[in-house]
């Protein structure tokens, strides 16, 4: 099966093509606030370079967040558009923090604590443990959540042996900082293929925001009471 993997939750758009378990091509482009503009040319060029037609694809996997709201939705809408053309196309949502764990944890590293910038002194964090003997499979030890940075640092300190991954500069010693890139799309693809190989149902094709919209927060502030947020 041929799979297209996408990741656009950060300041770049990344895509990768897989033929079975084999990663055929991958590429990333800077796309700060330009995910909608950059994604289609990127995917088009990857497909052309590989000599594939879009109709050759059997599945699309996409990082579903957390991350830039518009970036996440834009990449998911792109996959949706591909599936409108080919209704049999399988769509697989992949937790973005798990993709970071898969992308950047050194081979053999047993676990990964991922903390990505959530703005205002907060981070999106999760803890994953590798499933022994199953490449591309991780167990979620700490569910993805938006927490204060201080709390995340404490949790990471307790997760002894976990490789600490962040996209931020200036965290205490022991954290490895990375930026978005093609490696993330490759990781999204590997996670989707590994899950598929084990017969796991595809992850939800909708963003995992982990943060409520400003509109909802403002509404509840202005309308306190039992009906708030209805």
């Amino acid at each position: 099966m041929r799979l297209l993997a996408l990741e656009a939750g950060g300041d770049a758009v990344s895509a990768a093509l897989f033929d079975g378990a084999h990663a055929l091509a991958s590429e990333s482009r800077p796309a700060r606030r330009r995910q909608t503009e950059e994604l289609a040319p990127l995917v088009g060029s990857l497909l052309a370079r590989s000599g594939w037609e879009p109709a050759d694809l059997g599945a699309v996997a996409c990082g579903r967040g957390p991350g830039s709201f518009t970036g996440l939705r834009s990449s998911l809408a792109f996959g949706t558009g591909l599936a409108i053309a080919a209704p049999g196309l399988q769509l697989v949502g992949i937790p973005t923090l798990e993709a970071w764990a898969e992308a950047f944890t050194p081979a053999g590293g047993p676990s990964a604590f991922v903390a990505l910038d959530g703005r205002r002194g907060q981070v999106y964090r999760a803890l994953y443990e590798r499933v022994p003997g199953s490449p591309g499979r991780w167990r979620t030890a700490l569910e993805p959540a938006l927490v204060d940075l201080g709390r995340a640092l404490d949790e990471a300190a307790q997760a002894s042996g976990a490789f600490r991954i962040t996209d931020q500069a200036g965290l205490p010693e022991g954290w490895a900082s990375f930026g978005p890139g093609a490696g993330l799309a490759l990781a999204v693809g590997r996670l989707a293929l590994a899950a598929r190989a084990e017969g796991t149902p595809p992850g939800a094709w909708e963003p995992e925001y982990l943060r409520r919209s400003e509109a909802e927060i403002l509404w509840e502030r202005l309308h306190p009471g039992p009906g708030a947020g209805a």
């Binding site: 503009e37 289609a40 558009g81 409108i84």
Partner: protein, 337 residues
């Protein structure tokens, strides 16, 4: 040529499929998000974007089912690129790009307002250029000299709120819920013969070519405050009827006046407010009295929809235009773009 059009500029997810040469709508499916936004009393852009993402696939599937066509039967993909809510526009545009790529068909970005001006052609085979176009929606209110499909000139526009925006805001003052425009229209029908308060028509202070709704809206608010302060329950139907008359009359007068001045024979009206009953009846009556013809779309083509985008896109494709794959949204386009 069969064109699929995607519309996601505000709170309606629309997919239309149109045979351009035949000017025939093969499908025009719209999913409304009104229930999502009703809680907030207005369209919440972030929530609207989320709903578009959910609705796109089922709305497109329904459009194909109704048209009896398969995706490969589509010759091009048109999509609204502006004006509208940025996050919402991104949803339609991203899906449209992928669809065009997957089908190996051209993509064409469309000005939403050009779509509204093109819509009347889908129901009126003998409609011709030039004519006068009245754009009245929640986001826009303008009179347009429509000389050709790509040649138009603004004759006047609102200086503040759009007509539909004023309807929604006054509906809120009258506690009619969201979206308030249609509810206000219905309430006004029941008070159509009542006098209601004296309200200023939606014309700019000191004259001028455009429209102005802020003074009218404020007058309604002050009237309601005065009534309630005096311990009287306001005559809501009367207020609705008086507001509707004051909001609609300048649109009709200006449209007919400009058409006569230009020597045009036809006036078209598009946008959600073109569904308003008083606008429809009074524009038809005034046009007829002036020896003109008023062309009013059916409600589904007046409101935001994908068929009008497909048709407007088809006209541009017909003269060799196509959009690049790195096309971006343009939330601030106007009818002159």
């Amino acid at each position: 040529m069969v064109v699929l059009g995607i519309e996601t500029s505000c709170d309606e997810t629309g997919v239309g499929i149109v045979d351009i040469g035949e000017r025939r709508v093969l499908a025009n499916v719209v999913a409304s998000q009104h229930s999502v936004h009703a809680t907030y009393g207005g369209v919440v852009p972030e929530l609207a974007s989320r709903e578009h993402l959910r609705a796109l696939a089922p709305v497109a599937a329904e459009a194909f089912a109704r048209s009896g066509l398969a995706p490969r039967d589509v010759d091009a993909v048109a999509v609204t690129r502006g004006p509208g809510l940025a996050g919402c526009l991104h949803m339609g545009l991203s899906a449209a790009k992928a669809l065009a790529l997957a089908l190996g068909r051209p993509l064409i970005g469309v000005n939403h307002l050009e779509g509204h001006l093109a819509a009347p052609f889908l129901e009126t085979p003998d409609l011709e250029y030039p004519h006068l176009g009245l754009l009245v929606s929640g986001g826009h209110t303008a009179l347009v000299d429509v000389r050709g499909p790509f040649d138009r000139r603004r004759l006047g526009a609102t200086l503040d709120d759009a007509a539909g925006e004023a309807f929604d805001k006054v509906a809120k003052l009258l506690e009619l819920g969201f979206p308030g425009g249609p509810a206000l229209d219905a309430l006004a029908e029941s008070g159509a013969n009542a006098g209601g308060p004296a309200l200023p028509a939606a014309r700019p202070k000191g004259g001028g070519p455009g429209f102005s709704y802020s003074g009218l809206k404020t007058a309604v608010r002050l009237h309601l405050e005065r009534e309630r302060a005096a311990g009287r329950e306001p005559d809501r139907a009367g207020v609705a009827a008086a507001f509707r008359r004051a909001a609609i009359a300048p649109l009709v007068e200006r449209a007919v006046g400009e058409a006569v001045a230009l020597g045009y024979r036809t006036i078209t009206a598009g946008g959600g407010v073109a569904c308003n009953r008083l606008l429809r009846t009074s524009l038809e009556r005034a046009a007829r009295a002036a020896g003109l013809r008023a062309v009013l779309c059916s409600p589904q083509l007046c409101a935001d929809n994908g068929a009008m985008i497909a048709y407007a896109g088809g006209l541009r494709l017909g003269r060799g235009e196509a959009s690049p794959p790195d096309l971006g949204v343009d939330p601030s386009l106007d009818e002159r773009s």
